[in-house]
Amino acid sequence: MAKEEKRRPFGMAQVIYTLLIISIVIPLLNPVGLPIGISQTTKDVYNYIENTLPAGSPVLIDLYYEMAARAELEPQAAAVVKHLFEKNCKLVFVSTITYGPIVFELLKSTAPDLFEGKQYGTDYVFLGYIAGNEPAVASLAQSIRGTIAVDNYGTPIANLTMMANIDKAEDFKLVFIVSSGTDTFGWYVRQWYTTHNVPLLFGALSVIGPSIKPYVDAKQAIGMLTGQRSAAEYETLVGRKGLGLASMDAQSFAHALILVFIIIGNILFLATRSKPKPKEVKKK
């Protein structure tokens, strides 16, 4: 009779998980404030908005992320929105994912300082969720008023002061796509950059970053921010301490711990490999 496998209540995996929780929770509760270097990629984005984007420009922001990706992407969105508002840009928020409206409300409620002194309809608007994925993005590029009649709150687009001179892709000076998916960036490259030559800025998850880098290198986007690291860097540049900076210590300690695990794993692996194998008994 085969022996039943006994599950150990507290094995190696559980030790790793416990140490990882400790390494994340303690720095979150007691931030150490480790210094953060600014990467060239983030500096390029900052410099573009600061020096190249004309003040008061209309900017489209697509919030395409769900709750799972919020921790990584909301700090990016908040930092860039702060910078854009400082330049008196007119922000048109939209979402091509169903979670968009809730995500926008959460952005407003968790970072109320961003919208302080800014008036809805005059400084920013939220068009709401628009179904259709790439066709929706293409349709918006041709005419916002031709695609939707009312904003997220049911106000007719024609009644929004800010939208009087904003309707099609050519009216925008920048599109900021904050997305947890890979496809979204391709939609805007094809429907806004290639056909209407509108500059694009990407805000992506760390894991997505490598796959969209070719667009940035081909100058189809002015730059990209990836993950919490970029968010923390941008928060440092715009001088707003947010969730990005707050979680960098935790991320640093967690990564350091994972590195320790990798080193231990390799030492054990090499030690096992260097052991002489028991000689096989030749069968007669």
């Binding site: 409206p101 926008f104 959460l106 760390s206 970053g209 490598p210 880098k213 070719p214 300690f253």
Partner: protein
């Protein structure tokens, strides 16, 4: 239904739309033609939006039907989850209808927003966060210096991880520029052909759809 209506007609419609979309996107003949093209292109995009919106309703009904069937099967392990899904779906739809009838945006309806923010959001975020534990335990087992390619992978992983953290910069300032170089040069070199390959694949798929060779989108042939 005859084969013509069931198979050939959808194929002709799809082929026609692909040809039109290619014309609208790539060809500029003159301003008048371009204006006509833009109008037609916009109409096609708008149809797609309407179809997607309707597809969402169909999806909602399908989920409901699936879970009702699960309850009918009386599988005790599944029944509780199916009940939760059905109850939650009905509640959310009712709240959304109530919001619309009150003339306010669905997402600003207090009960709808509360359920979404305090029930769905933490659950979704927790599901994603759990990944970190698997990554930690997987990295311990998989990043092993077994052979030269594995050693290279290990070195790159360490550089990128240290470049992503503040601790890395404290150890050596060069980790961040080195991480950026890995991102910009070898990574882009690897991803560009993948992106181009996907592009070529899509062109081939489009051509197959135009000539009627690709039929999987219509489901199984009878």
């Amino acid at each position: 239904m005859s084969v013509v209506v069931r198979r050939n007609l959808p194929q002709i419609i799809v082929a026609l739309i692909i040809v039109l979309m290619v014309l609208f996107y790539f060809f500029y003949i003159n301003a008048d033609v371009s204006k006509t093209f833009t109008t037609a292109d916009k109409a096609l995009s708008d149809w797609a939006i309407v179809i997607t919106a309707i597809a969402a309703i169909v999806g909602g009904i399908d989920i409901l039907r699936y879970h009702v069937n699960q309850i009918r099967k009386r599988e005790m392990r599944q029944i509780i989850f199916s009940c939760i899904v059905i109850v939650m779906e009905i509640i959310m739809v009712l709240l959304a209808c109530y919001a619309l009838s009150s003339g306010i945006a669905i997402t600003t309806q207090p009960n709808f927003a509360w359920l979404y923010t305090y029930l769905y959001a933490p659950a979704d975020a927790a599901m994603y966060s759990i990944l970190v534990f698997y990554i930690a335990s997987a990295s311990y087992r998989t990043f092993r210096a077994r052979n030269p390619p594995a050693i290279l992978l290990l070195i790159v992983a360490i550089i990128v991880m240290l470049g992503n953290t503040s601790l890395g910069a404290m150890i050596w300032e060069g980790f961040l520029p080195l991480r950026d170089w890995i991102y910009n040069v070898p990574n882009t070199a690897a991803f560009r052909p993948i992106t181009m390959g996907i592009g070529f694949g899509l062109i081939m798929l489009g051509l197959r759809l135009i000539v009627g060779k690709e039929t999987t989108w219509m489901g199984r042939r009878e």
